[in-house]
Symmetry: none
Subunit: 125 residues, 2 copies
């Protein structure tokens, strides 16, 4: 199961964030074939977004055969193997890091400060 998390500051549409997290979850083996995802209503409540937003994400993945849905039952991981290219992964990492540093910089931190902190506490503190 994924620990879904939305970042409102990222500029990335919510439904895209949901889609990506599911895709990355499958690709990394974190989500397995047949596993049930949260219901559209449950995830909407959890993420504090509208029902339609979750629905849009699930539906797009269903069209891509990545998810399988059954009305009245739920939404499940389909059998389609998800491959995420190294380039796409790297682009995503870059995008996340840029946003990270953009925020960090606004508090006066530079890359070294952040690296130092991450090395020390692993972001857990």
């Amino acid at each position: 199961m994924i620990n879904f998390k939305l970042d409102p500051k990222s500029g990335v549409p919510f439904y895209r964030q949901i889609i990506d997290q599911i895709r990355y979850g499958i690709a990394s083996g974190d989500l397995k074939l047949g596993e049930q995802l949260p219901t559209v209503r449950a995830l909407a409540v959890q993420l504090k977004v509208n029902l339609n937003t979750v629905t849009k994400a699930y539906k797009e993945l269903e069209i891509q055969k990545i998810l399988e849905t059954q009305q009245g039952t739920g939404t499940f991981i389909g059998s389609l193997t998800v491959n995420i290219s190294e380039k796409e992964k790297h682009d995503k990492l870059k995008s996340i890091c840029r946003e990270f540093m953009s925020i960090a910089y606004s508090y006066g931190f530079d890359v070294e400060d952040v690296i130092q902190e991450l090395k020390q506490n692993g972001g857990r503190s």
Copy 2:
């Protein structure tokens, strides 16, 4: 000087990508105080986006005192100083990093991945 690049697939608005790249550039030492940025028109042409889009990015950074602009002359990296106490600063850094990593985790990236990326694009100068 930054090698600006937009990723239309990322979902991040163009103007936000421009902002992030500039802030990242400063935080990584790639952009130095007083350095001139491309003119709004030049960057618009280079990135193949509308003049207004670049303007929006520059203007927001100007409001935040990160850039300084002079009509007829150009746009330059300003001197943003942040004054908060050391303890407050460190607490902030910790909380930012925690937030960073929780998002990175949801995409399957770990601390090492992030550190690696930050080192790559920050240690270049």
